[in-house]
């Protein structure tokens, strides 16, 4: 009986070592919503929490909206205001998804792999399923991932005079870069 328990405990601890989820607290997400009329709506968030499970292909992100840093104070104010992201009410944006072509990525062999990711993106309290392509680079123990995709602000109920007037791109490009050391 004792032996079984011991083996069982070993199995569990062994499994958790191999299936260990990789995390970082310094992921980067930037977006560019500039137009020919306005060069101000762009920002970067360098303190994104991210996780990757190489075994299941699970990917997750958590970003604090107020962490998006702008050059211009007025634009940062607009971005966080009730009309746009309403960051007091919806303080974070999240993504929960999976690498859908997991078989094409070998996490135990150095190399550059094209990845397809699909999952639920929640911004402004609205959740939509998105799919995007990215790149995974494996260098020894380190795994880096990058992806770029377009977010349609209409889908997430983000509106405002400046957006309607064409000063803010309604389909800003979002870029993600994470490293799991």
């Amino acid at each position: 009986m004792k032996k079984t328990t011991l083996i069982f405990a070993l199995l569990i601890s062994g499994a958790s070592v191999f299936a260990q989820k990789r995390t970082t607290t310094s992921g980067t997400i930037s977006f560019d919503a500039t137009t020919s009329l306005d060069a101000l709506p762009r920002a970067e968030n360098k303190t994104v929490v991210a996780a990757l499970d190489p075994k299941t292909g699970g990917i997750a992100f958590e970003a604090i909206i107020k962490s998006f840093s702008f050059v211009n104070p007025m634009m940062q104010g607009h971005f966080n205001s009730v009309n746009w992201l309403d960051s007091d009410k919806f303080p974070t944006a999240t993504f929960k998804g999976k690498i859908t072509n997991l078989a094409a990525v070998n996490f135990s062999k150095d190399g550059t792999y094209p990845a397809e990711v699909s999952g639920d993106l929640t911004i402004h309290g609205v959740t939509k399923t998105i799919s995007t392509k990215g790149t995974i680079v494996v260098t020894g123990k380190m795994i880096s991932a990058t992806a770029a995709f377009v977010v349609k602000v209409d889908d997430y109920g983000i509106t405002g005079k400046a957006i309607e007037a064409g000063k803010v791109n309604k389909e800003p490009k979002v870029s993600v870069a994470v490293s799991f050391n």
Binding site: T25, G27, T28, L40, K46, T47, S67, S69, P91, N181
Partner: protein, 149 residues
Amino acid sequence: MVISKTRRKNILIAVLLIALAGGGVLWYLFTEKFGDTRKEKADYTMSAQDLIAEFKKSDSLANKKYAERMIEVTGIVTAVEPADTTVNIKMADSTGSYVIFAFQQQHLANARRVKAGDSLSVKGSCSGGAYSEILETEYITFKRCAISK
């Protein structure tokens, strides 16, 4: 109604001045940049442990109090993490809850010299905190930081 020539001239000058002032304000608002954090006055000065404890107690209350405020935080650095092409400095408590600082461009060189274990004061704009479901800890983020001591 007849408006005298001088009166008309005065009205025209007043309208022009108002338009110029308005234009000036708009120009200022659109070209203004966040200043150097090192020259900004801190709204609060406190230890990393106290700040983390306050967010753990109630992050909604702490967010109301600290979000978008300039805070000078003192503590022991627990990690220096690469963030794409830059670095972030982190101070964590014994449970893994943490406060993390992203730096202003002009203060990055100083941040790169910091090592885990260093005792430090960092000033920056608090972006607020949240409970991370990924890490199962409370985390507080800062932007536009500078090392003050």
